[in-house]
């Protein structure tokens, strides 16, 4: 059994009275694409900064491939970071930026130039070496920042919301590209983001942070299909949370459960239900037509609201809008609910 790339043992980081990170245990495996997802102030960035060495844990220890690094300064750790604002040196060219780490390590000039060229090729910026960062677009700076980190062959690459400043199209393109670069270089990537879709798209595994603690660690499908807490259910995707008496009537237990809107079928009393399904009666209160799909807001007869999403496979906007005010029967597979605590 090899050592994990990163191991957190009861790591805490307090800023005065604020527990930015609170007794976190975490293992990140060698070679995986690991995302830290959470709202701002949830502690994900502080965790990343502690791995990089910009912050030190108040208590607990961090191991990098079995070596305790909690007290090592950043320049003695074999990890590199892609910063949120890219942090390219404005007084150096793209080539000099990428070669910076190699220059510090006193790699020969020819070797440096060769590796810079390779990196520029990898991030599809061949021929840009002599430009200044100020002459590049946001997406290009992003790639330079990536190249500058990867050229050092770090054991772990840290990415601090690197796609946050890009527009949607470019972001989606970079998501695919980052993932393919990670596969090619085989380095462990730790990716911090507040965008749940990004985390779901790219990660092998992900951790959901909330208030300095990790709520759930698992594969994207685990986290999406089986949220461990109502926070995760609410933060990752949209979710219906039903508890108390209403839950009792539907499932026979008053424990709170979550059900994803796309898992619910919208039917009528005529539909025949199997044993494997839960059902609930309600009235459509609102219909929002969104082109690809329609979102229905259904008020249950027993109280509570459910959001239901149906793809517009056969229906048009005219059809779906007629549903407003209609009595409906909602049903879904029992397996698709997730019992959540809290």
């Amino acid at each position: 059994m090899t050592n994990p790339a990163i191991r957190f043992d009861q790591v805490s980081r307090h800023f005065g009275d604020v527990k930015a990170v609170d007794a976190v245990d975490l293992e990140i495996h060698d070679g995986e694409f690991f995302s830290m997802l959470g709202p701002s102030g949830s502690g994900k960035t502080t965790c990343l900064r502690m791995i990089a060495g910009f912050d030190r844990p108040t208590s607990g220890s961090i191991h990098l491939y079995g070596q305790e690094v909690s007290d090592l300064p950043p320049y003695e750790r074999d990890v590199n970071t892609v910063f949120q604002d890219y942090a390219l040196f404005p007084h150096m060219t793209v080539g000099e930026n990428i070669a910076y780490g190699l220059m510090i390590k006193r790699v020969s000039k020819e070797e440096r130039m060769k590796r810079v060229e390779e990196m520029l090729e990898l991030v599809q910026l061949a021929g840009f070496a002599s430009r200044k960062p100020s002459q590049l677009s946001g997406g290009q700076r992003q790639r330079v920042a990536l190249a500058r980190a990867l050229v050092n062959h770090p054991k772990v690459l840290l990415l601090d919301e690197p796609l946050g400043a890009l527009d949607l199209k470019l972001r989606q393109q970079m998501q695919v590209e980052l993932k393919s670069i990670q596969k090619r270089v085989g380095i462990t990537f730790i990716f911090v983001t507040h965008d749940q879709e990004e985390a779901l798209t790219m990660s092998d595994r992900m951790a959901v942070f909330n208030q300095g603690r990790i709520e759930q660690i698992g594969s994207p499908s685990d986290v999406y299909e089986k949220p461990a807490s109502s926070f995760v259910a609410g933060f990752v995707g949209t979710s219906n949370l039903i508890g108390g008496e209403v839950a009792q009537r539907i499932t026979g237990s008053d424990q709170k459960f979550s059900i994803r809107p796309e898992k619910i079928h919208l039917g009528s009393a005529a539909d025949v239900l199997t044993e494997s399904m839960y059902k609930a009666n309600g009235t459509v209160r609102d219909v929002i037509y969104l082109g690809l799909y329609t979102r229905y807001l259904v008020t249950l007869d027993d109280g509570g609201d459910l959001v239901v999403i149906e793809q517009n496979l056969k229906t048009t906007s005219m059809d779906v809008l007629k549903a407003r005010g209609q009595k409906v029967v909602l049903f879904w597979e029992k397996d698709h609910i997730s019992r959540v605590g809290g």
């Binding site: 990089a52 060495g53 910009f54 300064p73 950043p74 320049y75 990890v79 590199n80 970071t81 910063f83 949120q84 604002d85 942090a87 390219l88 040196f89 404005p90 007084h91 910076y100 780490g101 510090i104 390590k105 500058r148 980190a149 050092n152």
Partner: protein, 300 residues
Amino acid sequence: MNRLSTYFYKRPFMVTMLLLSVPMLYMLVVYLGSLFALLLNSFYYLEEFTGLVVKQFTLGTYAQLLKPSNLGIFGRTAGMAMAVTITDAVIAFPLAYYIAKFASRRLRTYLYIAVTLPLWSSYLVRVYAWKLILSKEGILSWFVNLFHLNPLLDGLLSLPGIGGSSLSLSPIGMFIAFCYIWLPYMIVPIQTALERVPKSLLEASSDLGAKPSQTFRNVILPLAFPGVVAGSIFTFSLTLGDFIVPQSLGNSRFFIGQAVYSHQGTSGNIPLAAAFTMGPVIIMVIYLLAARRLGAFDAL
């Protein structure tokens, strides 16, 4: 009122004119005008027998500048300006760095006030204060006596060229006063430049393996350089043109400011005074061109 604002709304050019007319008038007439008058006068000459200025084009006045005694004045002044500038940069940098990168917001305000506080008092008062501090019976000698450092002070004062009978009557004393008086003008631009360097750049450098000293050399210093140059323009040009400090603290050997002062005063040799004044102007132009070549203004 309404019609007036509509008028300006439709004519943005008139707004520009309105905003710029007074400063432009001042720049063109008062500032450039007097510079031009200066330039013009430097090409006239003083008739030695009559003591009158002859308004006839000549390069003779400039030729007088090349006399060894006058060249000595230029050399002395430029040397002093350079020494003061370098010393101030070395003193100012760590302080500016601390203010910009380490001090808390509150402490930063206090330090900023502390740095600029001396500028609230009269320049003359500060120069005379230094005269008292540095004089033979002054507070500095008292401390020197207290710590039995007299041999050191005497050794310093016996140095040829920069020594003298006491600190207040030597170029060393002048140097100390100059360094003190212009220091805020060096601290503030460097601090401003350092504040504009994002912390993430320093973290990135460290992340890429650079030790603090390497980060300083490769990232902080080059990015703060425009600030150092801006500060040095102040310290250098202010020292070049000053005549109060050399008059109050120095020995009898002239500096440019004193030469200008005495030539335009009692001797009435306006052309030579004008030619002397063109000296610092030319030195500063060369200085700025050199700074530009070094890339000091790239970040502006």
